[in-house]
């Protein structure tokens, strides 16, 4: 019960990951994204070591398909995993194991892979992809946000007892090796996708201020002063 998208912005080469799920704190289980290397995200029944192992192999120069093959060889329960892998050029592949809970599946396109399990149906993936492709000129974080909203609006997750709310969600975007450009999370909320949109919009107001006060602290205004400039907009 999760739906996610991994993607690369062809304009900026930034890599990003968007995820939402019924489980709590999904963003705390997303180690597999690194600028200049690639992305791996394992979901459904998660083998926690998978994503970092995949990054090591991508860093060594293996293709996403070769990485997937080796993850399969390394894992007796590979058929219970759902995995998407992308290299730094945007080449992607995905695997939806036969042991994942229905409906589950993935869609791999040029510079993205959308994948999910315990979904209302294949139309949820179509909603994710449609959201992602709707405004290709936007910043990657907003395209990922639109993808999650598209999946939610297409019906999202449906388990044995009916619709399951999104209780956690996260978006990560990387353009440098040592920190994320965007790293926003909602760990426990009855409408996590809507809350993530609120957090992302608020973060974008502060993004440049936070970055610049670290780069040139000698020139930085206080946060109180900055908040006042927001109020005067």
């Amino acid at each position: 019960m999760t739906f996610s998208i991994i993607a690369r912005c062809p304009r900026t080469r930034r890599l990003g990951l968007g995820i939402t799920t019924f489980s709590i704190a999904a963003g705390g289980r997303c180690e597999g994204i690194r600028h200049g290397i690639g992305i791996c995200k394992t979901q459904a029944y998660v083998n926690r070591g998978n994503d970092l192992l995949a990054l090591h192999m991508l860093e060594a120069g293996l293709s996403p398909a070769a990485v997937m093959k080796r993850l399969a060889e390394n894992d007796p329960d590979h058929e219970f995993r759902q995995i998407a892998i992308m290299d730094r050029e945007g080449n992607a592949c995905a695997h939806t194991g036969s042991g994942t809970r229905p409906w589950s599946g993935h869609q791999v396109g040029d510079g993205f892979a959308a994948f999910g399990n315990v979904l209302a149906g294949p139309h949820v993936l179509e909603g994710i992809v449609k959201g992602f492709l709707a405004r290709p000129g936007d910043d990657l974080e907003f395209r990922l946000m639109a993808a999650l909203e598209g999946g939610r609006d297409a019906g999202g997750q449906v388990g044995q007892d009916g619709h399951l709310p999104e209780r956690s969600a996260a978006i990560f975007v990387a353009s440098e090796p040592d920190h994320f450009d965007v790293d926003v999370r909602v760990d426990l909320h009855p409408e996590a996708v809507a809350e993530l949109r609120r957090v992302l919009e608020e973060f974008k107001l502060y993004e440049v201020f936070y970055r610049e006060r670290g780069h040139r602290p000698d020139l930085a205004m206080t946060q109180d002063q900055f908040v006042a400039t927001l109020a005067n907009r």
């Binding site: 019960m1 709590i24 704190a25 998660v46 044995q160 040592d178 790293d183 973060f203």
Partner: protein
């Protein structure tokens, strides 16, 4: 304006950080621990690359003090930074530059650093240390939360007549794995420390289940069925 507790559990060697601040999404600055290596933080006018540099230096074998000196010599604006480093032995080193604003400083002990800026006063970091040391046999994540809660209750950020809310908070603990045991966040909230405790309390119910279903997917309960067992146990 931020307050933070870095801690190492002397019993288990687990390493972690608890952080709370007026800024939003502070967890961005808390990807700052590594199993068997150390834990660090760079705050105030944060150099966003410092955490990973520090973890690499610690991984190479430098101790906390040498790592801190490396960070200072690598940074033209280090006098605006507030930095804490604990290495795998529990040795701790901290620095607060003269350019950091508001009341700022730290309490440093073996296995912990309580550090903050823009605080009501020195008693806040003293309270954080006291909270961390209050239950030495408890799990590290609980001790880190206690540190944040004592800091909040001592007045936290701002001045005596003008309190600054904690709008974001984060809790991160590493044990033996290359990924964290606990990685919880509150990115935008009016009372982020309370909310972080609530998220942690809820997460604790699921922690073993989430781990078990990944390690043993064959026959694992669906999450709805697991939640029914939680409800039955209430």
């Amino acid at each position: 304006m931020t307050y933070t507790i870095l801690g190492r559990c002397a019993r288990t060697g687990r390493l972690g950080i608890g952080i709370a601040t007026f800024s939003i999404t502070v967890g961005r600055y808390a990807h700052s621990a590594k199993a068997m290596v150390g834990v660090t933080v760079s705050q105030a006018f944060a150099n966003e690359n410092n955490n990973q540099i520090a973890l690499r230096l610690l991984d190479q074998g430098f101790g906390a003090r040498a790592t801190l000196e490396h960070l200072k010599s690598n940074d033209a604006y280090y006098t605006y930074r507030q930095i804490g480093v604990i290495d795998r032995t529990g040795a701790a080193a901290a620095y607060t530059g003269p350019g950091v604003r508001g009341w700022c400083g730290e309490v440093v002990g073996e296995n912990y650093i309580a550090t903050g800026n823009g605080l009501v006063g020195r008693h806040v970091v003293e309270a954080i240390a006291k909270g961390f040391l209050a239950e030495r046999d408890a799990d590290l994540e609980h001790r880190l939360l206690m540190g944040l809660e004592y800091g909040r209750d001592a007045g936290g950020q701002g001045t005596v007549d003008r309190h600054k809310a904690e709008r974001s908070a984060a809790l991160l603990v590493y044990s033996r794995d290359p990924y964290p045991d606990i990685d919880l966040r509150v990115d935008l909230h009016e009372t982020a420390v309370e909310e972080l405790r609530a998220v942690w309390a809820e997460y604790k119910k699921y922690e073993a289940y989430y781990r078990h279903r990944g390690e043993h997917p064959r026959g694992a309960l669906g999450q709805e069925a697991f939640m029914a067992t939680l409800k039955a146990a209430e």
